[in-house]
């Protein structure tokens, strides 16, 4: 088993470097919840089906990430505060290639 490090900047601008397991079938949204970096009920609302944008984040490092699925692309096309580097955390499965990844959580929708 290997843990990787991921830097997550929360919605208050505080950055956290957390250890993420690659062998627990976890995604980035779940990682944020596991470390309680965003209040429960404000992230992962749909449970990880790419059907809400509550886990939207901005990718700050230049990691090569898996391509977006149609679902993710469709959801981001209707999300708010979207930027070029927006992704849905729930669609980013934690893998060894993500070691050193830096992301910032997008603001909560009003």
């Amino acid at each position: 088993m290997t843990d990787i490090k991921i830097k997550i900047t929360d919605r208050d601008g505080v950055s956290h470097e957390v250890e993420a397991p690659t062998d627990m079938n976890m995604n980035l949204m779940e990682l944020v919840r596991a470390y309680e970096l965003a209040p429960e009920g404000t992230i992962g609302i749909c449970g990880g089906m790419a059907m809400c944008a509550s886990c939207q984040c901005y990718v700050q490092s230049d990691h090569e990430l898996p391509e977006m699925s149609d679902d993710e692309e469709a959801m981001l096309s209707e999300a708010f505060n979207v930027r070029e580097n927006s992704r849905l955390g729930c669609q980013l499965h934690i893998s060894e290639e993500m070691d050193g990844l830096a992301v910032e959580l997008a603001p909560e929708e009003g």
């Binding site: 209040p39 429960e40 749909c46 449970g47 089906m49 469709a74 096309s77 708010f80 929708e109």
Partner: protein, 353 residues
């Protein structure tokens, strides 16, 4: 005034199953839900998605699960107040409650069970400056009366079914319909996508893709919207319109329940999980995804369990002097309020001579 034994707020799977368990105890239920149909998230968000962890169902579509629950509770004739959000609660001197909805419908019950999931579904509002100012003055998040738009100019934003369907519908009503979406692809029924394509081709829908409404202009009422087609703000275009209707789907908000004096932790209602899922206000219970306690899991199957124990406790509150002995449905059958009776067939006893 609607009167019932257990008033259930939220008609998702947990709330629906509570009707069954209450029915076995001869308690009547009435459900309130902000959505126009029962089923909660299962119907609204993912009716066509499979669920694999409902005991006894290796695989069931969320929409089918709701249909099954509706069938299961039918004998207990639950009442429904749909399309209305529970707004206020009042505790009367005798310990019973009156819950009033957004449309003023009043419900009276000795027990209130909040099965509100993640809250009531409300339209997602784009974060545009001044959008609140123009609400009901040109900006609407849902279409209640299409006649309002007759011979008016309408701009619709969104890429899902409701944006497509309303664009199609209003193409024959409004004087001008513009559909703005951030990309060329729409996620909606294929049939709707093709219809919009056709209406665009014959000039009845003005399609702006990729595009995004980034600003609103007007005085007392909305006069125009600013549409951004490229990343270059200098190329923004202004479009005169009477109405702007952003249709970006719904998202759940805890809403007014958060102001009922209930103990809230992590956007959920704290309950006594050692006993009966009662909240800090005696007589008000919280079951399913809306509650929290140490070790809480937001699973439908956990909601079913919580609903069952809640009903037992509700029964004791309503009938403090009665002693209830739990009976298996296999033994006691299911006797509906509608006169129906289901029971296991009697064994055939026949002598061999």
């Amino acid at each position: 005034m609607i009167k019932t034994d257990i008033l259930i707020i939220g008609a998702g799977p947990t709330g629906l199953f509570a009707v069954f368990e209450a029915g076995l105890l001869k308690l009547k239920c009435h459900l309130i839900d902000a959505l126009p149909q029962p089923g909660g998230q299962c119907s609204e968000l993912y009716p066509k998605k499979p669920i694999y962890d409902i005991p006894g169902f290796p695989e069931v579509l969320a929409g089918d699960l709701v249909d099954n629950l509706m069938e299961q509770i039918k004998p207990f004739q639950p009442g429904f107040t749909l399309g209305e959000r529970a707004e206020t609660i009042e505790k009367l001197e005798d310990g019973t409650f009156i819950v009033t909805t957004s449309k003023g419908t009043k419900h009276h019950a000795p027990i209130v069970a909040i099965a509100g999931g993640l809250g009531s579904f409300e339209p997602r509002k784009p974060p545009l400056e001044d959008i609140a100012k123009y609400e009901d003055k040109g900006v609407a998040y849902m279409i209640k009366d299409p006649e309002v738009y007759r011979n008016k100019k309408v701009v619709i934003a969104g890429g899902g079914d409701s944006a497509l369907d309303w664009s199609i519908f209003l193409a024959d009503v409004a004087s001008e319909v513009t559909l703005v979406h951030r990309r060329n692809e729409f996620r909606g029924a294929l049939d709707s996508v093709e219809k919009v394509q056709h209406l665009k081709d014959i000039g009845k829908i003005n399609l702006v893709t990729p595009g995004e409404v980034v600003g609103l202009q007007g005085e007392d009422t909305l006069k125009s919207v600013i549409i951004r087609k490229t990343t270059n703000a200098a190329e923004d275009m202004m479009l005169e319109t009477d109405f702007f209707i952003p249709l970006f789907g719904l998202s759940p908000k805890l809403g007014p329940i958060g102001d009922w004096g209930l103990e809230i932790e992590k956007n959920a209602i704290k309950v006594d999980n050692a006993l009966d899922y009662q909240t800090n206000i005696p007589g008000i219970y919280a079951i399913g995804d809306v509650n929290t306690y140490p070790g809480k899991l937001k699973l439908i199957l956990c909601g079913f369990h919580e609903a069952t124990l809640m009903c037992q406790s509700a029964y004791q509150r309503i009938f403090p002097d009665k002693k209830y002995v739990m009976k298996y449905t296999t033994v006691g059958g299911v006797t509906g309020f509608d006169g129906s009776k289901k029971e296991s067939p009697k064994a055939v006893v026949k002598a061999i001579n």
